[in-house]
């Protein structure tokens, strides 16, 4: 009997040395003549513990981490491969690690458990069950199921997925498309990457179901170029799925056909905005389109198109498999199901936390995150990417819920949470928000293109000026500029850049004097 040892293959795990550890463990096993099989699984998303090495035992998988090269010989001496728990890096049963145990993993049910490109592994862990169900249903019942689940877009705008699908289903056209938005540009987010690298078949399954539901036979996925490993793994997964009959002209032997083409972005944040993404898919400059027409009616190459985020689509298989009610049962208010939050920045226990809506930021920061990595106090938290507000401690008890966040002038967006300690100068972050907008604006509207440049200049002047009345003047001007950007921009790039800026002047005004 061989012993199975799991070491993730994942960008962050590799960045922390997983490739090297895997090789070293294989070599050591050979040297000691041990029958060990190294399996490169997906990451559990407990990133501060990567490389997380797991040994399969009768009681379950036992975890060791973070393992460095110099630990390997000692681990072998103490027979970690027999499930011996004496080594100082032993974390006990993986599933009992509190950070993981407290989560509600629906979309990420297989994270860290399966081997990303192993189709049999996927099938034996509920894989393609949702698709099989969908194949036995008619289009309208599939769409109704998605509507009933309460699933809303996880890319940022939180639009109900089922309603979007209905629009595409109801439109008639020779060719319809499903487009997966895998541009994941927000700082502090990596859940899309984890699906692409760690559970690619679930996304293929989700896209396939979307195609069948709305009557689209062609799918495109737009993956950002910053994710080379994700592009590789996902491309291979498509080939495997095609060979096994889950994609192509006769899905699972039925008359349905659906195929997926991979397109790689080119380093433009704005191409995550759906209409800019469609322009980019058509090979053009990523200029944002005026809506209407909605992409659902006139999208890719002018045809009706479902554009959905990776997590939205990857949540569809479990909804179909276990039913709308099962998914809808999680969450609160109009925020149903779970959101994979991502703890990033200066946080001790960083990684993926999939939880139902309704928990609080404080729980995420204190119970899951365990405070900052530097050991200092948490000062500010940016939720929802570069267009999201910076939140001070007074707002951490707000339940994580789309509507409640919106009322507080904040956004959940794609669930990214970036933590800063008290060494940060928030005025610098306000300047950066404007700078980022200036860099990434598609250039279509003046408030965004020029306003952001003026914003940087104004904040520089503010930082330079000594006199109080001069400062007041700059601040008032900045406030007016923010109004103009919010009201006069075509999309959220220009329209929401004022969110982080204004939150800083509202909650962290004392930093103006620090400089």
């Amino acid at each position: 009997m061989s012993i199975s040892i799991y070491i993730p293959r994942d960008t962050t795990a590799n960045a922390r040395g997983a490739d090297d550890i895997a090789l070293l463990i294989e070599q050591s096993a050979e040297r000691f003549d041990l029958n060990i099989k190294v399996i490169r699984n997906s990451s559990r998303g407990l990133y501060w513990l990567e490389p997380l090495v797991e040994v399969d035992t009768e009681a379950g998988r036992i975890a060791f981490g973070p393992v460095t090269e110099k630990d390997v010989s000692e681990l072998f001496e103490q027979q970690f491969y027999m499930g011996q728990i004496s080594h100082k890096l032993c974390l006990g049963l993986t599933e009992e690690i509190p950070f993981l145990k407290k989560q509600q993993r629906l979309t990420f049910a297989r994270a860290g458990i399966t081997e990303p490109l192993n189709l049999d592994d996927y099938l034996s862990h509920d894989g393609f069950k949702g698709l099989k169900k969908a194949l036995s249903m008619n289009c309208q019942t599939i769409v109704d199921e998605v509507k009933g689940s309460g699933l809303r877009g996880r890319g940022g705008a939180a639009f109900p997925t089922g309603i979007k699908w209905q629009t595409v289903l109801d439109s008639s056209a020779e060719q319809k498309y499903v487009v997966c938005n895998a541009d994941e540009g927000d700082s502090g987010t990596f859940s899309d990457r984890m699906i692409l690298e760690g559970d690619p078949f679930v996304l293929i399954e989700g896209m396939c179901i979307a195609g069948i539901a709305v009557g689209a036979t062609q799918g495109y996925i737009y993956i950002r170029s910053e994710y080379p490993l994700a592009c590789d793994i996902f491309t291979q997964a498509i080939q495997t799925a095609r060979q096994a009959g889950y994609l192509g002209s006769s899905i699972c032997g039925t008359s349905h056909s659906f195929d997926i083409h991979v397109r790689v972005g080119a380093g433009a944040y704005i191409c995550g905005e759906e209409t800019s993404l469609l322009e980019s898919l058509e090979g053009k400059r990523g200029m944002v389109r005026v809506k209407p027409p909605l992409p659902a009616l006139s999208g890719l190459f002018g045809e009706p198109t479902v554009v959905n985020n990776v997590i939205s689509l990857a949540s569809v298989p479990v909804i179909l498999d276990k039913g709308a009610d099962y998914y809808e049962h999680y969450g609160q208010g109009r925020s149903r199901g779970t959101l994979p939050f991502q703890l990033a920045g200066n946080i001790k226990q960083s990684g993926l936390v999939e939880l139902s809506f309704g928990h609080t930021l404080r729980e995420l920061l204190e119970i899951f995150g365990q405070g900052t990595r530097t050991g200092k106090a948490i000062r500010a938290v940016q939720v929802g990417g570069p267009l999201g507000a910076y939140l001070p401690e007074s707002l951490w008890d707000l339940p994580l819920d789309y509507e409640l966040f919106s009322e507080a002038g904040a956004v959940l967006g794609h669930g990214g949470i970036v933590v800063f300690d008290d060494s940060i100068n928030m005025t610098e972050m306000a300047r950066y928000a404007m700078e980022f907008c200036a860099l990434e604006s598609c250039g279509k509207c003046t408030p965004c293109r020029i306003g952001s440049v003026r914003g940087v200049e104004l904040i520089d002047k503010l930082l330079d000026s000594e006199q109080q009345d001069e400062r007041e003047e700059h601040l008032n001007l900045l406030d007016e500029l923010c109004d103009t950007m919010e009201e006069g921009s075509l999309c959220a790039m220009g329209g929401m850049t004022p969110f982080p800026v204004r939150s800083i002047f509202k909650y962290f005004a004392q930093d103006l004097d620090k400089s």
Partner: protein, 179 residues
């Protein structure tokens, strides 16, 4: 006089060779669309992967092949940060400037890297070894600050690790050059 002429001839034949290579890449990538509409972006990626950057020649030949104006192609190339207009160094060092990496000290690392390499963003060291580029998130935010060189991401970076990394890449290259 005579020598000058061979130089000219060599230059011309090199140019011809390069043109043929570019045309070949364009042709191959157009075939890869396999019935799907032919669009610019994937072809540009393919060209940059092989040629290192998007030259004037590339733009001209691409415009011809796709029946577009040079301005059309140039417009697309200039929109995207990924496409280069000059030869890159042997290694492109991408520093992540986005929020999560700033929260973990990227500003210090950025200054250090610029000083050590003695270049700013979008420049290449005189020895042609390193180019420096900013990037906005590598999806490695759980272990910031992040750096990417070629297709490898490095996590939890600091000036000390950066120096080691740059040195090791220099040593590696010198060794290969000797062999």
């Amino acid at each position: 006089m005579f020598k000058l002429d061979t130089d000219e001839l060599n230059k011309e034949s090199n140019q011809n060779q390069e043109n043929n290579q570019i045309k070949q890449i364009i042709e191959m990538s157009m075939k890869a669309f396999n019935g799907q509409p032919v669009v610019l972006l994937p072809i540009l990626h393919e060209l940059q992967n092989t040629m290192g950057y998007i030259s004037e020649t590339v733009i001209t030949l691409l415009a011809e092949a796709l029946n577009l104006s040079r301005a059309d192609v140039y417009g697309v190339v200039s929109f995207y940060h990924d496409f280069r207009h000059t030869t890159p160094g042997k290694y492109i060092v991408h520093l992540c400037r986005a929020e999560s990496c700033q929260a973990m000290g990227m500003n210090v690392l950025e200054q250090f890297t610029k000083q050590t390499l003695d270049i700013d963003y979008h420049q290449t060291t005189e020895d042609g070894m390193f180019s420096l580029e900013p990037v906005y998130c590598l999806g490695n935010c759980a272990c910031s600050p992040s750096v990417k060189i070629s297709n490898q991401v490095y996590s939890d970076m600091n000036p000390h690790k950066m120096k080691q990394l740059l040195d090791s890449l220099r040593v590696k290259t010198n060794r290969v050059d000797v062999l």
